[in-house]
Symmetry: C2
Subunit: 343 residues, 2 copies
DNA sequence: CTGAAAGCGCTTACAG
DNA sequence: CTGAAAGCGCTTACAG
C-alpha cells in the first residue's frame, strides 16, 4: 500500500509489468483492446503495487469531474428523509465510481462557479421552489441535472422525480372510506411549493369519486403542531365535524391527534388521523400515527438513472407508501406502481 | 460566461491581459509577487472573461484534492443533528475554497481507496465506535483526519471533538436539584460507544456532589419509547420512586414522559423529565420536553480548525446546551464554556 | 517583477 | 494488439 507521500503512478505499473504507460491505461479504460495475456500481467502488477489512478490526473485528461454536485439545504425545518436520500444518492452514484460533492448556498452564482471550475459533471437539485431559477440557468448551458421535486409554476425545464402526492391522497381517502369514515378533512398550508395543491387535489378527487363531501373540510393555513390542534378544535366545533383528517405533515397530524384525545375522542376509531413523511414523530405517537412514507430508495435510483440517460426531459412520479398504524388502521391494497411520465 | 463546452482557460486570460500564463497564475496564487498595475489588468481580464481555474488541473499541479472526505452513515436511527452538522461542516470547509466529498461504506478499504486515488486531502470521521479501526489506519499513513465523536476504548490516535456528556449531565442534576427534585433517575442503554458511560458518570458525580441518592436509580438497558415507558413504570412501582428522570435520548424521554402522565402525575411538576439532542420530538411533546442540544455549529467549526491546525492530537470537549421546556423547567445559569483538552 | 521550462499523472487519438 | 506523441490546464521553482 502506498504512503500518501509516495503514491504509485501508472509509470511504475508499466515498468513493473514491462509495458508502456498507455497499455496500462488501456487495461483500465478499454480492456477489450488489450490481449488477455498482457491484461493479466498488467492486472497483477496493478494488484501487487496497489495502484489506483490519480483522480485529478484521470479526470483532467478525460475532461470530466467524476463528481455530482448537491447543495445541502439549510432549511430550519428539513425534510425528515433528506439524510436518507443523500445516503442513497451517494451509494447510487458510487456504483459508477463517482461521488457526491457537497456545497452550500443555493444561489445560481454558486452553481455557475462550480460549472466554471469544472468541479462537477452534473447537479442534483433538491428543495426546489416555485419559479426556481436554477433549472433554467442550467438547461440553457447544457449542464446536466435532475431535480428532486417538481417546481410548480411556469415552464420548468429538465427532468425531475417527485412523489405522487395526489395519488397517495386519493388512496388515503379510499382507505379511510373502507374503514367507514365519511367526512374526511384535509389540513395543511399552501406554501412556497405546489405540494399542498397537489395533495389537496388528490384528496378532493378521492372524495368526489366516493361521493364524500369536501366543502368546508379544508384548513389551508396550518403548518405547526399547535396550529394543527387549533384547526382540529375548530373543525370539531363545526356543525358537521369530520371523522377523519389527512394532514400534510406529521407535526400537523400530531397536533390534530392530540386535540382528538383532548376532546375525549379515540384516534383511529372516532376520528382517524394521517400524516406525511413517516418521520420519527409518527412512531412515537401513542398508538402510532399512520403516515405516508416517501419512496426514498426509488427517488435516489431514479434520479441517477435520469442523470445518466440521454433522454433529457423525462419526469417521474413515484407512489408513496402508506404506513398504517393505530391512528388510522387502513388496510393496504397492493401498491399500484404508477410511474407516470409527462411531456 | 463560458459555456460548458468552451471553458475559459488561463491561456486566454493571459492573451487578453497581454501577460504570460504564469503571471495570471501568480495573480491567483501569489498576488504579492505581481506588480499592482499588472495585477489590476489581469484582474479585469479574469473578470471580463469570467475565468475560474479548472479544479482538476489546479489540484493536479498543486498536489492536493481540495476535498474533505465524509462517509455518510447509514444507521437506521441516525443522530437527529447529523444533517445540520453536515451542512455546517460543508459551509465551514467552503471558507477556504474546498468542498466535502461524500462516500458510503465506512470500511477501512474504502478509505484506502480514496487515499490511493488522492481523491481527498483529509477525512472527517463520524459515527465512531469502540475500537474504531479507521483512526489507527489513517494515523499510521499520516492521512489528516478529525474524529467527530470520541472512541472510547484503547488508544485512539488523532484529534477529536465531542460533547461533554458528563458535564451537561452534572448540570442537569444541579438544575433539577434547584427545582426541588431529590431522587433523580438515569435511563439509557450501554451500547457500542462509551457515550452512555460518559453521561451516567456525570449524573452520578452530580448526585454525589449534592448528596442525592443514585443507588437503584439507573436503568441501563433502555433505548426505545416503549422501553422508556416500561422502565418508568418499574421505577414508579419501586419503594422509593424518582421525582426526576434524565434520559439519554429524546425517544426514551418521550416514553418516560408518557408513563408519567398515564400514572396521573404531572410532568415537570411531580416528575421532571429530560432528553438528549433536542430532536423534533422534544418540541412536539405536550408542554415541551427539556432536552440537551448538541453544539453543532461549534462542532463543525472546531473540526475544521483541528483539521487545518498543525497540532495533531488535540481533543476538544464542547458543552451541551440545555433547552428548558415544560417537562423540566430548569433555570439556566450562564453556560460555562468549558473547553477541555486532554493528553 | 515577469516569463520560459518542466512537470503534475493521466487519456485519447493515431501510427505502427 | 501495442507504444510514441500530444495534450488536459494548471503550478512551482527558477532564471532573467
Amino acid at each position: 500500500m502506498a504512503r500518501p507521500g509516495f503514491p504509485v503512478t501508472i509509470r511504475q505499473v508499466a515498468l513493473h509489468a514491462g509495458v508502456s504507460r498507455q497499455t496500462v491505461s488501456n487495461v483500465l479504460n478499454a480492456p477489450h483492446r488489450v490481449e488477455s495475456g498482457t491484461r493479466q500481467r498488467v492486472g497483477s502488477s496493478i494488484e501487487a503495487l496497489g495502484y489506483r489512478p490519480n483522480r485529478n490526473a484521470r479526470n483532467l485528461a478525460a475532461r470530466r469531474a467524476g463528481l455530482i454536485g448537491y447543495c445541502v439545504p439549510e432549511s430550519d425545518t428539513p425534510n425528515p428523509f433528506m439524510d436518507r436520500f443523500l445516503h442513497l444518492l451517494t451509494a447510487e452514484v458510487e456504483r459508477s465510481g463517482r461521488n457526491v460533492l457537497l456545497f452550500t448556498g443555493g444561489a445560481v452564482g454558486v452553481y455557475a462557479d462550480l460549472v466554471a471550475q469544472r468541479a462537477v459533471d452534473a447537479f442534483v437539485l433538491a428543495d426546489t421552489v416555485d419559479d426556481d431559477p436554477r433549472h433554467g440557468w442550467l438547461a440553457e448551458r447544457d449542464v446536466p441535472f435532475v431535480s428532486f421535486g417538481r417546481t410548480w409554476t411556469g415552464r420548468q425545464p429538465g427532468p425531475w422525480v417527485d412523489l405522487d402526492g395526489a395519488g397517495v391522497c386519493r388512496r388515503l381517502v379510499a382507505g379511510l372510506h373502507d374503514l367507514g369514515h365519511r367526512r374526511i378533512a384535509f389540513v395543511g398550508k399552501c406554501g412556497a411549493t405546489g405540494q399542498y395543491l397537489d395533495r389537496v387535489r388528490g384528496w378532493r378527487a378521492g372524495c368526489d369519486a366516493l361521493g364524500l363531501p369536501s366543502d368546508r373540510l379544508v384548513c389551508a393555513e396550518v403548518d405547526t403542531v399547535e396550529a394543527g390542534g387549533v384547526a382540529m378544535r375548530n373543525l370539531l366545533d363545526s356543525e358537521v365535524p369530520p371523522d377523519a383528517v389527512i394532514a400534510v405533515s406529521d407535526p400537523i397530524a400530531v397536533g390534530v391527534h392530540r386535540e382528538v384525545r383532548r376532546q375525549g375522542l379515540r384516534p383511529g376509531t372516532d376520528v382517524a388521523v394521517t400524516g406525511f413523511d413517516d418521520s420519527p414523530l409518527a412512531s412515537v405517537v401513542d398508538g402510532g400515527l399512520t403516515s405516508v412514507r416517501q419512496p426514498v430508495e426509488r427517488f435516489a435510483r431514479t434520479v441517477v438513472d435520469l442523470l445518466d440517460s440521454a433522454n433529457g426531459d423525462r419526469c417521474v412520479l413515484l407512489p408513496g407508501e402508506i404506513i398504517s398504524r393505530g391512528s388510522a388502521p387502513i388496510r393496504l391494497t397492493e401498491q399500484d406502481v404508477n410511474e407516470w411520465e409527462s411531456r
